[in-house]
C-alpha cells in the first residue's frame, strides 16, 4: 500500500462516526438513508462521511441504481492492517479479563 493511500485510510478512520458507519457496513450493505438512521444526522451529513470513506477505498457503492447501497471494501482495511492482528487483540483483551477473573 502506498503512503498516500495509507494516509487517506488513516484520516478516514480517525473519526468516530465514520468508524461506526464501517462497523454497520460490516453487517451488510446499507443505503444512505439506512446509514443515517442510527446517527441522528442528515443524509447529506452521512453522504459527506461516505465520500471520505470512498476516497480512502474503504467503502464502495452497489449496483442498484435506486438505493445505491454502500458496502465495505475490506481490502483497504486488510492492507492497512495485519489481517488477523486486530481480531487477535480483541480476543486477547477478553482473555486478559478472564485471567483477572480466574486469579480471584
Amino acid at each position: 500500500m502506498d503512503s498516500s493511500r495509507l494516509d487517506a485510510t488513516f484520516l478516514a478512520l480517525a473519526d468516530p462516526t465514520r468508524r461506526a458507519i464501517l462497523a454497520r457496513l460490516v453487517q451488510g450493505e446499507a443505503s444512505v438513508r439506512e446509514l443515517a438512521e442510527p446517527f441522528a444526522m442528515t443524509q447529506a451529513a452521512v453522504s459527506k462521511h461516505l465520500r471520505v470513506l470512498e476516497r480512502a477505498g474503504l467503502v464502495s457503492s452497489g449496483r442498484d441504481a435506486q438505493r445505491r447501497p454502500r458496502k465495505i471494501e475490506t481490502e483497504a482495511l486488510a492492507e492497512a492492517n495485519g489481517y488477523l492482528e486486530r481480531y487477535r487483540q480483541l480476543w486477547d483483551r477478553n482473555f486478559k479479563r478472564l485471567d483477572a477473573l480466574l486469579a480471584e
Binding site: 468508524r19 477478553n94 482473555f95
Partner: protein, 162 residues
C-alpha cells in the same frame, strides 16, 4: 512452560473456513470451564471495548440455546450472538452452533472448544468452522473494525477533525 509464553493467544487459519484460537490459563480446568459457561462469569470478560453485555442467557445442555446481547455505550446500537449447544462434556469439551441474530450479525459456524489441564494450567482450544469462507472473513473483519476503533481513538485526538 514459561508463564508468559503460556498466556499468549495464538490464532491460526488452518483452512479457508476455520479459525483456531489457543490460550492457556493459570487455573484448573473446572474453573475455566465455568468462566466459559456461567452467565455471571461470562459477563465479566466476554465482549468488546465500548459495548456492555446487557443480557446473557445460557441453557447448558445438548439442544439448549445461549443468547448474548450487547449494547453500544455511545450510540445504543445492539449486537447479539445466539447459538445452540450440540455436545457438552463438562469440563473438557463443548460443541456449539453459532447462528446469525435477527440483525444478520456474524455467525453460522460450528465451534468446538476443548479444555486440557496440565500441571494446574488449562489449555483452551477453540476451533471455529464457519459455513463459508465469506462468513469466516466477515467475522475476522468485524473484529478488525472494532480493533481499529480502539486503535484510532487516540489518533482522532492527534489528527483532529477532517
Amino acid at each position: 512452560m514459561n508463564a508468559q509464553q503460556s498466556q499468549t493467544l495464538e490464532i491460526t487459519t488452518p483452512s479457508d473456513r476455520e479459525v483456531v484460537m489457543t490460550r492457556t490459563f493459570n487455573a484448573e480446568r473446572a474453573r475455566v470451564f465455568s468462566a466459559f459457561t456461567e452467565p455471571e462469569l461470562i459477563k465479566r470478560w466476554f465482549g468488546l471495548a465500548g459495548w456492555s453485555m446487557t443480557s446473557c442467557e445460557v441453557d447448558l445442555r445438548p439442544g439448549g440455546k445461549f443468547h448474548y446481547h450487547w449494547t453500544n455505550d455511545e450510540n445504543g446500537a445492539e449486537y447479539g450472538l445466539i447459538g445452540t449447544y450440540r455436545e457438552i462434556e463438562a469440563p473438557a469439551r463443548i460443541v456449539h452452533r453459532e447462528d446469525h441474530d435477527e440483525a444478520g450479525n456474524q455467525g453460522d459456524a460450528t465451534v468446538t472448544t476443548t479444555f486440557v489441564e496440565r500441571n494446574g494450567l488449562t489449555a483452551m482450544t477453540m476451533t471455529m468452522l464457519f459455513d463459508s469462507r465469506e462468513l469466516r472473513d466477515k467475522a475476522i473483519e468485524s473484529g478488525q473494525v472494532e480493533g481499529w476503533g480502539v486503535c484510532f481513538d487516540h489518533m482522532a485526538n492527534v489528527v483532529g477533525g477532517v
